[in-house]
Symmetry: C2
Subunit: 250 residues, 2 copies
């Protein structure tokens, strides 16, 4: 496979860096071609702005997503966006590796989505989920957290990890067409022993060796929704997220 | 009330800017003292790094959250962080206004959380939820989205809006101790009429006039969880999020 690893951590001596380095060795041993976007090392700019476009369709006022579509049609993306977009389109597997900050990705990685997951390529013109622009590819989230596993079970302090990551797993990756694998977590990193960290690294690399055989998370097809964008009568929800009311209305 | 509005939009001629401007007029008419952090206008830096600390406890390798705690104890935050932290601590109501990008905040606002919601003040030493560092304050999320309302119902294309925002409403704001109000959304902004936009602005300002009387979302108290961080036997889940299994395991 062609694998793109997008990595966001500010410290080269971190656990995350050790995990990245070992994972790259293993993926290459397995015969994959691996490209890394190390966002901190690249000084990646995460702030979407008018400067992202070399030509504009609506120069009088910025409509960011509409300019993305126009820029795609006119090869008018800023060079750093086009470079990341080329890597993204060339991959069979996208791995996102980051420390979990406020139950999401660090800002530098959020900006990678804001600027690189562009309208006209990744989504738009009806492209999403099973018609998403990146369909046929797989995605894996690999994160580290100060949480303990019980905190992110269904009845845990934070509710389930997959719920905390729903905006990323479903709203971003599945939306874009990826087959999304179960998120991988390393726990309570600051306060573990060196042996525990080595075990975390072993567990991750072991998982990576079998990654091509994993089953992705269930996602509804577009044709299971009606004109009102809700599941058609008789369609059984495939995810618990599509079954339940809002957390704030009970 | 003292109100802090944190605002993230790159375009001064946008609907969001018009919504912000009108909301500020109304809040001031109602007698509130309002401070605005306009992150794009400020050129706010969203990228957490070692430069955020004027002194370091662990200079050999960056442990970002542990340095936050040390910086708080030694008044060693970079000036832009301290300025935002002062505004945050002075507010009774925090309003976050932003366009919904990939089912979360724009990167420039994500970095505001990464850098300003600091260990030692907002959380840490057991501070979270009903013991959170910002308890006694309220928070309101005001967003605009290309989605239509049916898409973010429980059985909608994306599942419920509150689920997509769970990392923000619960994992960030409630975790920090805020009483979190129902998120406010304006829909399909690019493709609405001027009258529909005017109606959205009226609906929001009408809501703001009654904001002090609203009921916040239900959140579990810390003492409802056991030593394993899971709800104690017999505690009824207050949110549907604490009741359901993972979306990827069904």
């Amino acid at each position: 496979m062609n694998i793109l690893v997008v990595y966001a951590h500010p410290e080269p001596k971190s656990f995350n860096r050790a995990l990245l380095d070992r994972s790259l060795e293993v993926l290459r041993e397995e015969g994959h071609a691996v490209v890394v976007s190390d966002l901190y090392a690249m000084g990646f700019n995460p702030v979407a702005s008018a400067e992202d476009f070399l030509q504009r369709r609506f120069p009088e006022a910025l409509q960011y997503d509409r300019e993305q579509k126009f820029a795609h049609e006119h090869q008018a993306f800023a060079a750093d966006i086009q470079a990341e977009l080329d890597k993204l389109q060339a991959c069979d597997l996208l791995i996102l590796q980051f420390p979990l900050w406020w139950f999401s990705v660090p800002a530098i990685m959020k900006g990678w989505f804001d600027r690189v997951f562009v309208n006209g390529v990744v989504y738009g013109k009806g492209r999403r989920f099973d018609t998403g622009g990146l369909k046929g590819r797989r995605a894996l989230v690999c994160t580290s957290t100060a949480c303990l596993p019980g905190m992110v079970e269904a009845d845990g302090l934070l509710a389930h990890l997959d719920l905390n990551l729903w905006h990323l797993l479903h709203g971003t990756l599945a939306y874009a067409g990826f087959e999304v694998l179960r998120p991988h977590a390393s726990w309570s990193i600051h306060y573990t022993t060196p042996q525990a960290r080595a075990d975390y690294i072993d567990a991750y690399t072991q998982r990576l060796r079998g990654i091509a055989q994993e089953e992705p998370m269930p996602v509804h097809r577009l044709d299971e929704f009606g004109a009102d964008w809700r599941l058609k009568p008789g369609i059984e929800p495939r995810t618990t997220a599509h079954r339940r009311p809002a957390p704030t209305t009970e």
